[in-house]
């Protein structure tokens, strides 16, 4: 919300004008945050209010005239081409030589068709006030000759951009902001005068009926006649513009001006177009209304309406109707000042997408007790700027007057919530400055909020009011937290441990959106054949198709990041992400589980052996190392039956006692669809599953007797996996066999018989209680070899 400093100064009852910086500082510290200050009208200098003394023709130009003007004691004859120079005595704007105008122009005396013109007479466009270039800006006849124009019309001002929180509907006006300042400064607020309004007794005012008293709390109607429509004075138009509102006509401008001044939305109906009595009621089925913006609105029964004898004439609190709109020919108006149920206004405004200055304020609460003043203020201004007279009798319907509640705050509560001992008398003084009516009853303060503070209803609200007048900014009095522990890792966070391990393994963490394009899920699920992956939870109101479905896998995000890095020429991207995936379950609530996934491509990154591309075993090595941190026994890796997005021959499922995840080469066809043209390797681990493998560390002392190793080398059919061979070797249940490891998987077709591979295993024998003899080792090795031969078809090499 935009707030004018000049306006605030008018409303504050204090002799010295408040500086912009001080005002901004007070407001921000008190909770009305000033987000920015714009200095207006600083580029204009040396433009004076001047009086026309005489006019004569230009000797050499028909369209030009020589105008004698006087500003204070200064008097000159100025060349002027405008058609609307007022007669002698009229007040105009004179930019004297040396004057600066908006746009950085500095004026010099210059010759115009043989006559030297000392400066120029200005129109609104030259002064930067509007785009109107039709003639001179003519000022009111009581404008003080010789005064600085920018100051006189209020062009020189500071405009604050205020961020008002939704609870402070009372602060959505200059008066509301001035009240806050006054409470801090200890001065009063000076309300504009509303006395001496010219009245008339001729004419009539419609009857007002509030049919829906839940929707409309109070309705004040005033009738004004004898209005002359036209532009408002420049001062009013500038203020409206500075506060972000467009000037329309003097009548409409006054309602907007009062809205900005005291915060009460008003509406002016053209009285001539209003027929019969005014009724506030809900819409009936099938009713429509053409609003001010020319659109026909279909109404629903929850919409609150202002109606006359013909039907709807306005959407209450949201927007007026076109049929009763004030126009250039309007002479009399019916002025509405009313308050409505905030929820009702909000519903209608939201449904129709019509957020107006009025609805914004009604949603946040408008004080019914302020309505009479707002209505009078508007009448007073209308009389001044549009020449109207007010019908002596007005209507004021207020079926259920609201009384603000008494709130009790004990000293105990105040001290407990604030954490500091308070003097209730001082607290009472603070609240009184804020407009509260207070009394003290021993250890209890009883306060009644001013009618405009509808946000205050609880003892805690009073605590905030007391604290915000200066105590927020004070540093904490005591060192409440005593600890020397400055930095601790969260030892229980498995996701974070995974992050450390994966980063340590050379992968870089990425963060991707939790929602993904639906097409990406279709790609990784083979067009939805895998429903768990393909059928994600839908976002009903996504910003765009990129944010349409909740991710069921971390692959889309990683693939997008990998593709982007490859496209940007980043070498060897190794990426990982840890975060939730969201999948459907049989239950009402979808299942969210944390996954850790990695996607790597490129080379191994060893400068001594450059150019070596990574393969499946680089990926598996990373996964094995990471899982070691969480599992006492290594998991099994089973050839994957069918994972849609992985290479069918280079992929595996990881199992502990329960499924843990998967790994493998990305399916080249799917990789391509995801924008990846190089071999890439992917793993995904269910983080929650890791929780069940709480490793209880149990150690044994290092062996005291030496080990003996024996190798065994053989040809075997290609399809027999290392795991099967290991199982066959272990089936000997040889007590002396301590360890066994693959040394070689040899497949060079130059040496290996067709369909076979050469395997080399290293077996380690050891006893815990003696040094083994060669004979003992030979015997044990023989038993292991027999077990192998008896289970698998091999040819020992």
């Amino acid at each position: 919300m935009k707030i004018s400093l000049n306006w605030l100064r008018e409303l504050l009852d204090r002799p010295s004008p408040l500086a912009a910086e001080e005002a901004a500082s007070i407001l921000t510290r008190q909770g009305l945050e000033v987000e920015g200050t714009t200095a207006m009208g600083r580029e204009m200098e040396g433009v004076l209010v001047a009086e026309v003394l005489a006019i004569r023709p230009h000797p050499k130009a028909d369209k030009l005239r020589l105008v004698t003007v006087r500003a204070g004691i200064r008097q000159e004859e100025v060349v002027c081409g405008a058609p609307n120079v007022p007669e002698a005595g009229g007040k105009i704007c004179w930019a004297v030589p040396g004057a600066k105008l908006p746009g950085g122009k500095t004026l010099q005396a210059r010759e115009v068709r043989g006559v030297i013109s000392p400066g120029m007479l200005c129109g609104e466009s030259e002064l930067g006030f509007s785009t109107d270039d039709s003639g001179l800006l003519v000022l009111a006849s009581d404008a003080p000759s010789g005064a600085d124009l920018a100051t006189y019309v209020g062009a020189r001002d500071d405009i604050f951009e205020l961020n008002i929180t939704p609870n402070r509907g009372d602060a959505l006006s200059h008066l509301g902001v001035a009240r806050e300042l006054a409470a801090h400064l200890g001065c009063g607020v000076r309300l504009p005068s509303v006395t001496g309004i010219p009245e008339t007794s001729s004419g009539s005012i419609p009857e007002v009926i509030i049919a829906d008293t839940d929707g409309c709390y109070r309705y004040i109607g005033r009738a004004l006649t004898g209005l002359v429509l036209g532009p408002s004075p420049i001062q009013m138009r500038l203020r409206l513009a500075y506060c972000g509102m467009r000037a329309i006509s003097n009548v409409v401008d006054v309602t907007n001006y009062v809205l900005l001044e005291v915060g009460h939305p008003l509406h002016a109906f053209d009285a001539a177009k209003l027929l019969g009595k005014v009724e506030v009621r809900r819409a009936r089925a099938g009713e429509t209304l053409v609003t001010l913006d020319g659109q026909s609105r279909a109404l629903v029964p929850e919409d609150l309406l202002i109606t006359d004898g013909t039907g709807p004439i306005a959407l209450a609190g949201v927007m007026g109707g076109a049929a009763t709109e004030v126009s250039a020919t309007t002479q009399s108006i019916f002025l509405e000042a009313a308050t409505f149920d905030p929820r009702s206004i909000r519903k209608t405004a939201k449904r129709l997408g019509l957020s107006s200055e009025a609805s914004y304020r009604f949603e946040r609460g408008v004080d019914e007790h302020g309505l009479p003043f707002a209505s009078l203020r508007a009448a007073s201004l209308l009389a001044q700027v549009a020449g109207g007279r007010v019908l002596a009798n007005h209507v004021d319907t207020y079926p259920r007057p609201r009384n603000s509640v008494h709130i009790s705050l004990t000293k105990e509560r105040l001290d407990r919530v604030s954490g500091q001992p308070h003097d209730l008398a001082q607290a009472m003084a603070t609240l009184t400055r804020l407009g509260f009516a207070c009394s003290l009853d021993h250890e209890t303060l009883v306060a009644q909020a001013p009618s405009y503070r509808m946000d205050v209803s609880l003892p805690e609200d009073l605590v905030e009011e007391i604290l915000r007048m200066g105590e927020y900014e004070k540093p904490a009095k005591a060192q409440r937290i005593r600890t020397n522990a400055t930095s601790m890792k969260n030892p229980e966070s498995i996701p974070d441990r995974l992050r450390y391990l994966l980063a340590g393994a050379g992968l870089s963490e990425i963060v991707s959106w939790a929602f993904v394009p639906r097409t990406h899920l279709a790609i990784i699920s083979e067009g939805g054949k895998d429903p768990v992956l393909g059928n994600g939870i839908t976002v009903k109101n996504p910003i765009s198709a990129d944010y349409e479905v909740m991710r069921t896998s971390l692959l889309p995000g990683l693939a997008a990041a990998l593709a982007r890095n490859l496209a940007r020429g980043v070498p060897d991207p190794w990426l990982f992400e840890v975060g939730p995936v969201i999948r459907r379950s049989g239950e009402d609530t979808p299942v969210e589980s944390n996954h850790a996934a990695g996607l790597i491509a490129g080379r191994r990154g060893d400068w001594l052996r450059p150019g070596e591309p990574i393969d499946f075993f680089d990926l598996k090595g990373i996964v094995e190392n990471v899982l070691r941190a969480f599992m006492a026994n290594p998991p099994c890796y089973k050839p994957a039956a069918r994972i849609p997005f992985l290479h069918p021959g280079i992929s595996a499922q990881i199992h502990g006692d329960i499924p843990l995840g998967l790994l493998g080469q990305l399916h080249p066809g799917i990789a391509q669809k995801l924008g990846i043209e190089v071999p890439a390797y992917y793993f995904e681990i269910d983080v929650n599953a890791l929780k069940s493998f709480g490793v209880t560390l149990r150690s044994v002392a290092p062996p005291r007797f030496p080990a003996v190793t024996r190798d065994i080398s053989f040809w075997i059919a290609e399809g027999v996996s290392a795991a099967e061979q290991q199982a066959a070797l272990a089936s000997a249940k040889e007590p002396l066999l301590e360890d066994l490891a693959v040394l070689e998987d040899f497949r060079d077709p130059r040496y290996v018989p067709p369909g076979k591979k050469g395997m080399l295993w290293s077996l380690t024998y050891r006893s815990t209680d003696r040094t083994l003899t060669d004979e003992e080792v030979d015997a044990a090795h023989g038993r292991v070899r027999s077990a192998l031969v008896s289970r698998l078809e091999i040819q020992v090499r």
């Binding site: 919530v417 954490g419 409440r480 601790m488 870089s508 959106w513 909740m550 990426l575």
Partner: protein, 354 residues
Amino acid sequence: MASVPSAKDLVQSFSALAEDFAAEVGRLNSEEELRLAQAKYLGKKGKATDLMKLLGKIPQEDRPLVGEAANQARAAIEKTVGDRLASLAELALGEELARCVDVTLPGRGRSGGSLHPLTRVRLEIEAIFLGMGFEVRTGPLIETEWNNFDALNTPADHPARDMQDTFFVEGGRILRSHTSPVQIRTMLAGPPPVKIIAPGNVFRRDDDATHTPMFPQCEGLHVDKSVSFEDLKATLILFVQRFFGPETKIRLRPSYFPFTEPSAEVDASCFLCQGISPQRETCRLCKGTGWIEIGGSGMVHPNVLRQVGYDQYDVTGYAFGMGLSRMAMLKYAVSDLRLFYENDLRFLKQFPSF
């Protein structure tokens, strides 16, 4: 030499033996050669043994003299061997030490990975609060409106809901717009005291230069008997001093959140200009104000305590929240919010693991 040797001859032979050995050893350059040479003199079939066999042939009374000469010769030879071995070892060490590598060449293996800056900043913040006795709690992204709004004193049709434009998903649920539902879940799960922080991603329908539709937050909640606004201040000041540096100050400003009363915005003094003129006037971080906004806070609203079944007259609490993207931008001088989600390794690699 058929004649019987005299004692004098033998003594001379022994001393000659030591001298011969010393002469021979000078040419030998390995321990193996040395040991062989030593055996040639002192071994079972060595020269010294041969000489000793003659001992029986000389008079009894001369034998001690010869024996002493033999011992001296043996000792001299052994010393020669020892000295020579020592000098060889020294030589070898010298040679080894003369070797050198170009230590400026890169190390072998893959250079380290990295932690995302949003993870790093979260871990830094968690560590500080863990040190103050807070627990870390997390919760689901898909939430009920009740947990996200109603329980937090934000009824439907209240303008406060405009403060957070929400994503809706199937089944009448929403993507949480803050991590406050974790506070609600924690309080519903057990009685006070509760002292937690709740980091995690949240979602709002905003997508522009300064907003992303998903962003990480960290909220804190402390509910117990007599937890006060002063405790909130003290907690926040300790936090900012540990996060931004010991000179940091905080400023609380009155504000409004439906779930807290009193409510406060939290500003930290600008760590770049320290709020001191003339640097302050041109400071791009705080834009000349001397303060940077870091989050919101307040005393838990009695309605929230009541909603979770806590006795609002018995316990009080404070809560606070901050955006982690903003904290990471401040802490790591990140110029553009979008960098966090582009996942460009050239950016990410600047944030090594701890």
